[in-house]
């Protein structure tokens, strides 16, 4: 009984390792976009991803037919959403591609455009009606196109700055 358990544990560990080797890069890219950090200094993104992956490891059971990638992304989104106020406060440090957006706009933009998640699924993930998701996405796209990609912290954005 005990031997069979350790054998299964070892197999899970191997599968998990293979999963991280394959999907880690893409997940870390998504996490870094979410936190708005530059790719070279993405400590927050790494921490988020490590915690999300740990949950995936603890629940590892591919026989249940769950996609580990989806699971990890879901965990990542939940973690980011529940700690987003921290990222709000550290706006000055966010100098990544999406630094000009609010955490919520980043979340929607990354899920919709970079990860290609359907609007309804995004809405379910972050608990908003899908019309609202569409509005946020459109606004985020407009913001991204309104200023050159290289320029950082160009103009104070009304609404979003007022909240912090």
């Amino acid at each position: 009984m005990r031997e069979r358990q350790t054998e299964r544990q070892r197999r899970s560990a191997r599968e998990f390792e293979a999963f991280v080797a394959g999907a880690g890069g893409r997940l870390l890219h998504a996490a870094t976009l979410l936190t708005g950090e530059p790719p070279e200094h993405n400590e927050r993104a790494r921490r988020l991803l490590t915690a999300a992956l740990a949950r995936t490891y603890a629940h590892w059971d591919p026989e249940r037919g769950e996609d580990p990638y989806d699971r990890t992304r879901q965990e990542l989104v939940a973690r980011f959403a529940s700690t987003a106020w921290r990222y709000h406060r550290h706006r000055d440090r966010a100098t990544g591609v999406l630094a000009r957006l609010t955490p919520q706009e980043r979340l929607v933009l990354v899920l919709r455009l970079s990860e290609g998640v359907a609007e309804e699924q995004v809405a379910a993930l972050i608990g908003l009606p899908s019309e609202r998701v569409r509005v946020i996405c459109t606004r985020a796209i407009a913001t991204m196109r309104s200023a050159p990609a290289g320029a950082r912290r160009v103009r104070p954005r009304a609404g979003a700055e007022g909240v912090t």
Partner: protein
Amino acid sequence: MSLPDRKEAEVRRLLEGPHPPVPPELTVRATELGLRLLRRRRAARWLMWLVLWAAAVAFTVWAARVHPWVAPPSTVAPPVEGL
């Protein structure tokens, strides 16, 4: 390609940008953390069973001593004597 699609594609290209390098210790750290989570969960389950078991034992001992199913002797009518 319609206009909104073109805008989306433009931003999508921006998002594609340079990918951050994956730190080599990512798997190890995630595994460690995951194992810790598993251990904690196992400990919590064990504690729950322990509490349940203790409650069951306590109830059995109490029931065996007090016999709560036996009706207490009536205190209304006097005992019948000398029939």
